[in-house]
């Protein structure tokens, strides 16, 4: 019996006639950290959209903890413990930072749609939200509407919304994109901290982050996973070198 946290079998997705995801197989163990890498337009975000229920695959199967989730709505998948962040920041623009984070934790805290209890009385939830806000270093922006945050603050909030609900399978789509080096370091440290014991899939372009964070790396090129293995093996893989990593590593080398 499969006990993968996440298992994709022959997943395909076409927009109109264009096949974007062309038969992806991926089995992620519980507690594993997986970096998804690949060139722009390879279909990484689309893959996350399929897993999280934003789009429905054209064919194939996606299992979360062994349960088929294809055809389920995003909220159903979220309730099963899968949380995701977005490459393009997707937050509650008029709500304050605190309210954003609290909303993201509300359903899973058991409150669901309740309207007989004031939010202010939910001490446990409020404390947890304050703590998360502090660890995101957004404390001083607590009551500021999310739309007024700086770019990197919004990125932090984006990831905060994803982890606030306590999901055990986390998908992060380029969480550190557009951040400075020091911000990235801080942020990766945070991601590592808050995803202890959880299954993590993250799309990442910074190879330093990828090799430092990931247990395994999935290389997605042209809608296909051409390699899925430990960092060392992926680095040595001839196919990967040819298709993607060679160029990237050369570029990184040139920068260093």
């Amino acid at each position: 019996m499969s006990t993968y946290a996440l298992e994709l079998s022959n997943v395909t997705k076409s927009f109109g006639k264009t096949a974007i995801i062309r038969g992806v197989n991926l089995a992620v163990n519980k507690g594993e950290r997986v970096a998804v890498i690949g060139p722009n337009g390879a279909g990484k975000s689309t893959l996350f959209n399929l897993i999280s229920g934003r789009f429905e695959p054209t064919s194939g199967s996606i299992k979360l903890h062994g349960n088929e989730i294809i055809g389920q709505r995003p909220y159903e998948i979220s309730r099963r413990g899968l949380a995701r962040s977005f490459q393009i920041t997707n937050i509650f623009s008029r709500l304050s930072v605190f309210e954003n984070l609290r909303c993201a934790a509300l359903f899973s805290s058991g409150q669901k749609y309740s309207f007989w209890k004031p939010l202010s009385k939910l001490t446990e939830l409020n404390d947890r939200t304050e703590a998360l806000m502090a660890s995101l270093e957004l404390k001083r922006r607590r009551d500021v509407p999310a739309s007024l945050l700086t770019y990197s603050e919004q990125r932090a909030l984006e990831v905060g919304l994803t982890i606030a609900g306590g999901g055990d399978v986390i998908l992060l789509d380029e969480p550190t994109a557009g951040m400075s080096h020091s911000e990235t370091d801080r942020f990766v440290h945070l991601i590592r901290k808050v995803t202890v014991g959880k299954t993590l899939l993250t799309v990442e372009h910074d190879m330093g982050v990828v090799f430092g964070l990931a247990d395994r790396i999935a290389v997605l090129v042209y809608g296909e996973v051409i390699a899925f293995d430990t960092p060392d093996k992926v680095r040595a893989d001839a196919k990967v070198k040819e298709a993607y990593l060679g160029a990237v590593l050369d570029a990184e080398g040139a920068h260093a």
Partner: protein
């Protein structure tokens, strides 16, 4: 720093403020009819109180959940019809007291919200608006098709003094308008408190989240359609209460209570009052009754003025009056208000002059085109103007031009002062944030 030491940073003495605000609200409701003195004023207060409940219930949709409904009068109106039938049942011997009628109507509203909302909330955004428009038309058509329930053209009458019970025995029989006022005031207070409390609950907050970003709300576990449905039901409940109070107030219900014109009125005046703050719709309700009853007495062209004010607000102050008030309160808080006294005075002074010129043109045009039978002279703010004399038109146009130009000059001064203050406030906020560890 320990956790305990950090806590007070976010402590806001809101509880004290809240008690003061709610007490003041209660005292004002209590004293208003005493200050009003005339029967007409009490009638106005009654209408305003009912409209306030209706507009606040409308804002549960528009302001709090981002749902632009074109059919809110369906729920106030159907509530009123159920109420009028229930009142007649009391007349026929039903053992419930008259003061419970608004509650009956509230549950009727809730029921219709559950029924019709199931259809309207299937979609969000523009499709939602369109469906509410369709449902509104449907219900109005039904109101004319089923005269047994809606009473056809004449509507249905009732008698609010019917019934019995110990309070009835004490003289609480709603014979006089003042008793009706206090009934409305009590319902207004309770409904306001309940609707405010609702905004502070998980569902109330998730409604805000769905308004801001429905997609993200789905990804944190919320079925946004279900959220919309629950909000429509809650809103319809309070709308129904407003309808029940209408039935008691008029002792009648007619089909125009469910008409789209009325829905449009709720939308327009809730917007004018301001959807961004909880109390905005109360201001909207005051303006609604003022326009409907007072302004319409002053001028036949009242809808034109309302329309123009609406346009100006949509373009220049989309947050409505309440947001203007709050922006000024913020100025006061940061000690930035005094500098704007003169720009404000200038704008108001020349704005009024321009308004006179504009009103003179409108009123003369109206007199010449529509009411020519009663002569060509109209008085505009006590000044008689003869629409048949060219000079009147020239004077009005000149006044409008003069007022408009001076207004614009002062508006620019105002913008400059406002902008400078804005910078200082931003600076102060930054400093305050930096002080938070």
């Amino acid at each position: 720093m320990s956790n305990a030491a950090m806590k007070p940073l976010h402590f806001k003495p809101l509880n004290g403020v809240r008690i003061v605000v709610w007490s003041a609200f209660a005292v004002i409701l209590l004293l208003l009819p005493v200050l009003a003195r005339s029967n007409f004023a009490v009638t106005l207060l009654c209408l305003t109180g009912i409209a306030a409940i209706a507009c606040m219930s409308y804002n549960m949709l528009l302001g709090q959940a981002g749902m632009l409904s074109f059919g809110h009068a369906v729920y106030t109106g159907l509530g009123a019809f159920v109420a009028i039938h229930a009142m007649n049942k009391i007349g026929g011997g039903w053992p419930i007291p008259m003061w419970m009628i608004p509650l009956v109507a509230g549950f009727a509203g809730l029921g219709f919200g559950a029924l019709l909302g199931f259809v309207t909330t299937r979609k969000a955004g523009t499709p939602f608006s369109m469906i509410t428009l369709g449902v509104g038309e449907l219900v109005f058509a039904a109101a004319l098709m089923f005269p047994e329930f809606f009473g056809g053209e004449a509507g249905i009458n009732s008698n609010r003094t019917a019934g019995s019970g110990w309070m009835h025995g004490l003289g609480l029989n709603f014979g006089g308008q003042i008793q009706v006022y206090y009934l409305i005031a009590i319902y207004l207070f309770l409904c306001t408190a309940a609707m405010y409390a609702f905004t502070q609950t998980p569902l109330g907050r998730i409604a805000n989240a769905v308004r801001d970003n429905a997609e993200r709300a789905e990804f944190v576990g919320y079925d946004t359609r279900w959220v919309r449905y629950l909000i429509v039901m809650a809103s319809s409940f309070f709308a129904g209460i407003a309808g029940g109070l209408t039935a008691i107030n008029f002792e009648a219900a007619t089909a125009d209570l469910v008409h789209g014109t009325r829905s449009g009125g709720y939308l327009l005046f809730t917007f004018l009052g301001g959807v961004g703050f909880f109390f905005g719709p109360i201001i909207g309700a005051v303006l609604l009754i003022f326009s409907l009853v007072v302004l319409s007495e002053l001028t036949k062209a009242w809808q034109l003025y309302v329309g123009i004010v609406f346009l100006i607000m949509v373009v220049f102050a989309p947050g409505g009056i309440s947001s203007l008030l709050m922006l000024n309160l913020r100025r006061i808080k940061y000690g930035e208000w005094r500098k704007m006294r003169w720009p404000y005075a200038g704008m108001v002074f020349f704005g009024l002059i321009a308004l006179w010129g504009f009103a003179a043109i409108v009123e003369m045009a109206y007199q010449a085109q529509v009411a020519a039978g009663s002569g060509s002279v109209v008085t505009v703010a006590r000044i008689p103007m003869d629409a048949s004399v060219l000079a009147s038109w020239l004077i009005a146009a000149a006044v409008l031009l003069f007022g408009g130009i001076c207004f614009e000059i002062w508006r620019r001064k105002f913008n400059k002062v406002w902008g400078e203050g804005e910078e200082r406030i931003a600076e102060a906020i930054k400093k305050a944030e930096a002080a938070i560890v």
